[in-house]
Each structure stands twice: as structure tokens, then as C-alpha cells.
Symmetry: C2
Subunit: 310 residues, 2 copies
């Protein structure tokens, strides 16, 4: 990849996915038995990590680790790293307890969302992709078309129904996440589930029959009652909770009264100076002291992109 | 919606989706029984159309039409039109023959892909959305998590498992579709399944763990062996075959030899003058006379966007 770096967590995947290898069962089996194979273990949705100074890092195991894998989950082929080592992800047998041998000495199984800021960008990207695929298998063991059991194939990148032969592929749900702006100010909104004082961008799933821009305009209208007149694309983030494609947007909105529906409790309008302060600690507003999300969230980078506009 | 018109077929949905009504079963039932309710009938994946001069138009039926609906498919709430009439989509009972009474007098059940260019933009958008949702129900009657039967809810915008209570939502698969460009030329590629002489943009599904730009760069590398250094967003199209979100991109690529993998048979490099000719009839190249896709396909509009760049 020679693309410019993406500022978003979980982007910038460092492995060569080598998609052509997925159909090559003999190659996959040989790769899985190589001494340099790196197996990223998960216990439920938690990857195995180790402390590396003040940061955390994946703690991949060698090929023997697949003995501990769940019989219900595939060993997922993640790709090949810059020195040629193949990487895989494996879900541990559900009967294994991470606080007892043999697991307890390996490292710590840690929630990816809370650990992501302590991981390097490339490590977060690998574990995020692994989590998304393993989670998809966990929730898709049966054929949605006929109800029979389905089996993983192609290094975990496909499931095939044993009964009706329907093929199923990992799901990615596109989400529009947008910053409404007008007359030099941007709007941030607050959901009840947010930490106290945090305000963020608005967001919602793109539905069948919508363009990105239409999904954005619908969400702005539904959530705050304002009419979008133009939508600009900012950037995208793979988001593994469970497997979204976050599509970051700036939405120009018409003047009008804000009408809050169920999802959003309150909104603030910020000047560029105030938004800059909200990104880097906090700012006083008519809703009290508020702050915007940290760089972990694409909302942070959408506000940054708006600040950088002339 | 006050967004600028989207040039892509199936975009510019004209109905107010009124998502808040989906959870209101009493409102939905009353709407379905209104005299002005418009029921868009489908026989398998074909909408009921009528000839309107040289064009085609949907031929929505009144509320009585739901008597002919399949017991296995929901009546899907599509939204409310500009005069307040509620629109629904219904899949006909599979035993009904479209060439016999009562169906044969209603109009013609026509393949949406071939009819789309004869439909108005708003009509294509409504039928495209309806087709995507009905098709999703057809292929998702069972819970992927536990294998039990699932039931449609919320006007067809959700299915819930009767056994494990898992919720399932209509799937939208994001696809990167891109025009590689370099030194004032763009590349179009040819797949064996295309009509003779047609060359188009490259495309592929975005995978878990990828940004839009990463998915684009991976596809360019996989399909033609070239390295993308920058990716620009052009626009998006909902594509109901079965339910993709086509994300149109321009990809700057490095100099290098084209290496064709399985999907692409041949490529051409076109100057802006040649690309303009390819869009409007055809152009002679070292691969013979070729043409680019018609305005029906987003590929057409990606080339147009590149032509409009300074």
C-alpha cells in the first residue's frame, strides 16, 4: 500500500491479504504449520495482548496454538506480513478459562475497544479485522436461506451451506457519520450513553436504496430535524464493533429549529475556535463544559477535516 | 431532500421513508388499508410495470392487492409520497402465474435491470429499494445465529428470530468501483461476461478491516497489478442486484506493467478525448472498437467526473 496514512484507528491494515491464497487449501495448511506462523488468539471477543512498556501489543502464538481453538470457529487467514510470515486468527475453545493454565501465562485477553488506544495503528488494524471476522462466524453458523448449518471455507472468508449450497460472505455495514455545519459553526450531538460532557458527530446505518449522501441527509433530518443541502466526503474507517464501515461526512444544513428525536439528547453549535478547544480538552458552552471524542473515533477526524477547510 | 441531484440510477429516492412509523403497527395497518395506498407488486424479482408511451412506469395496485401476497414475505413499507399516500411493496404468492388471470391483465412483470433505463429516476429508485428489501427477506428466512425461522417486523425493515430473539437487519454490501488514472489517461477493463466491446471501471467488495481507500487499492492491485497512490471519492449509487452500495472512486496509480488476474481479460488506456468518445458511442483502440457503459452504470459517471477534473 502506498496510500497516504489514514488518521483513523483500525485503518492502515499492514498485512498483504493475499486473497488468491484463500482458495488454496494446501497452501493454507502449509502456512499454518510454518514455524513463523503467527496465530492471534481470541477468547470470546477479546484478543490476547501483552504489555510492551507503556503500550500494548498482540501476543501471537506459534502453530501449536491451534490445538486450543474452538471446533465451531475457523482459523482465519489474515494475510502475510512484510517478512513473509503468515498471520491467522483463532477463537479459543469456549471451555478454556483465561485465568487458568494453559491460558493464564500467555498474556491478557483484553477488550479491543479499551485497548485500541494503547496499540500501534498496524496492530489495531490486524486485531480489528480478526475480531470482525471471528465475530461474524460466531453469529452466522447457520444458513439464513434454509436454516441448515453452514461451514467455513477459504480461510474463513466464506461460509457455505451444507444443505442448499448457498454461499455467505462476511458482512460489512456501511454507516454515514456526519458533522452538520452552517455559517462557520458545526453541530455536535449528545447521546445518553456517552461519557458525561462528551458530544460527537451524528450517525446512522445506510439503508437499501440510499446513496451515501441520502443516508446522511435522512439521518440529519431524523435526529435533529435539519435539512442537508450538500454533503462532502471526508474519509472512512473500518470499525470492528461488530463490523461497520464508518463513512465520515460534512453536511451543510439549512437554517431551522433543531428538533430532537429519541437518539440525541442535546446539541451544541461550535465556532472553529470552540471546536478546536473541544478536541483538545474541552470548551465551555451553554450546555456546560463539553468535549469532542478522542482520535480513536472518526468523529474526531471529521471535526479536524472541517477545521482544516478554508 | 434538498441535495443536489445524484446522476446515478436508483438514487434520489422520492419517498419520505418515515422510519419512525415502522415500529407503529397500528399506523402501518391503517396506512395499508387506505384507499390511496400504493402497493408495488413483485413476481419473484420482477416488479409490475405498465407501458407509458415510450417509457415504463410502476403500476401500483390498491390495498386489495395484498390478498395475493406470498405468506412467506412481508408487506414492506416504502414510505410516503409527496401527496401523503403510503407506498408498500408486496411479493406475490409463488403459485400465481403472471401470464394468467388475475395477474395477466394488470401489466407486465419486467426484469428491473433491463427496464431501469425506461423508468423515471424516482420510479427506478422506489422499485430498486423495494426489490432489495424483498430479495433480502427471500434469502434470510432463517436466523443465521441459531437456524430457527425468523419473522419480519417493523414494516419489513427487520427480522427477529422466534427462538433466540436475535435481530437481523437488511444487508447493504459496500463495493469500491474505481477508475485507475495516470498521466492524463484512464484505464478501463473488460470482463468476459460484458457485452462485446464494452470496457468498464474495476470493482470489488470492501472487506472487514478495510477503509474505502484500502479496498480500492487492494482491488486495483489484485485485478491489474498496479499500485494506487491516492484515491478520490466521486459519488455513490444504491444498486439493487441484490443490494450493494456502489462507491465510485478515481485512483491515481504508479507506472508499472499491467498484470491481469482472473477477473479482467483486457484493459485499455484512454486519453480524455478517447474516453469522451467511449462514453458517447465508441472509440477505436489497440483492442478494436470499444465503448464505456451507459449512464445506467456508475462507471459512466465516474468517467464523467474524471473528464470534468481540471
Amino acid at each position: 500500500m502506498k496510500l497516504p496514512a489514514n488518521p483513523n484507528t483500525f485503518a492502515n491494515y499492514p498485512l498483504d491479504r493475499s486473497g488468491h491464497r484463500r482458495k488454496d487449501a494446501a497452501w493454507l495448511e502449509a502456512a499454518l504449520n510454518r514455524d513463523d506462523a503467527a496465530i492471534h488468539l481470541f477468547h470470546r471477543d477479546r484478543p490476547l495482548l501483552s504489555q510492551a512498556g507503556r503500550r500494548m501489543a498482540p501476543s501471537p502464538m506459534g502453530p501449536g496454538a491451534v490445538q486450543m481453538a474452538s471446533p465451531d470457529a475457523p482459523i482465519v487467514f489474515l494475510g502475510v506480513d512484510e517478512v513473509g510470515a503468515p498471520h491467522f486468527a483463532a477463537m479459543l475453545h469456549p471451555d478454556l478459562d483465561p485465568t487458568e493454565p494453559p491460558l493464564e501465562s500467555l498474556g491478557v485477553f483484553t477488550d479491543l475497544r479499551s485497548a485500541a488506544m494503547q496499540l500501534s495503528g498496524p496492530d489495531a488494524a490486524v486485531l480489528g479485522c480478526a475480531k470482525a471476522i471471528l465475530d461474524w462466524h460466531e453469529r452466522h453458523r447457520f444458513c439464513a436461506k434454509c436454516g441448515a448449518g453452514s461451514q467455513p471455507q477459504e480461510g474463513g472468508w466464506k461460509r457455505v451451506c451444507a444443505s442448499c449450497a448457498a454461499e455467505h460472505f462476511p458482512r460489512v455495514d456501511p454507516v454515514a457519520i456526519m458533522l452538520p455545519v452552517r455559517d462557520g459553526r458545526c453541530m455536535l450531538g449528545r447521546q445518553a450513553r456517552f461519557p458525561a460532557g462528551m458530544y460527537s458527530a451524528l450517525a446512522g446505518f445506510i439503508e437499501p436504496g440510499e446513496s451515501i449522501e441520502e443516508g446522511c441527509a435522512r439521518e440529519v433530518l431524523e435526529e435533529v430535524g435539519l435539512i442537508a443541502t450538500a454533503v462532502r466526503y471526508v474519509g472512512a474507517q473500518p470499525w470492528p464493533f461488530p463490523s461497520q464501515l464508518m463513512i465520515g461526512l460534512i453536511a451543510e444544513v439549512e437554517p431551522g429549529d433543531v428538533v430532537l428525536e429519541d437518539e440525541i439528547d442535546a446539541v451544541v453549535w461550535l465556532t472553529k475556535e470552540e471546536a478546536r478547544a473541544a478536541l483538545s480538552g474541552g470548551v465551555d458552552t451553554d450546555r456546560g463544559r463539553i468535549f469532542a471524542p478522542p482520535p480513536f473515533a472518526i468523529a474526531h477526524h471529521i471535526v479536524q477535516a472541517w477545521l482544516a477547510e478554508p
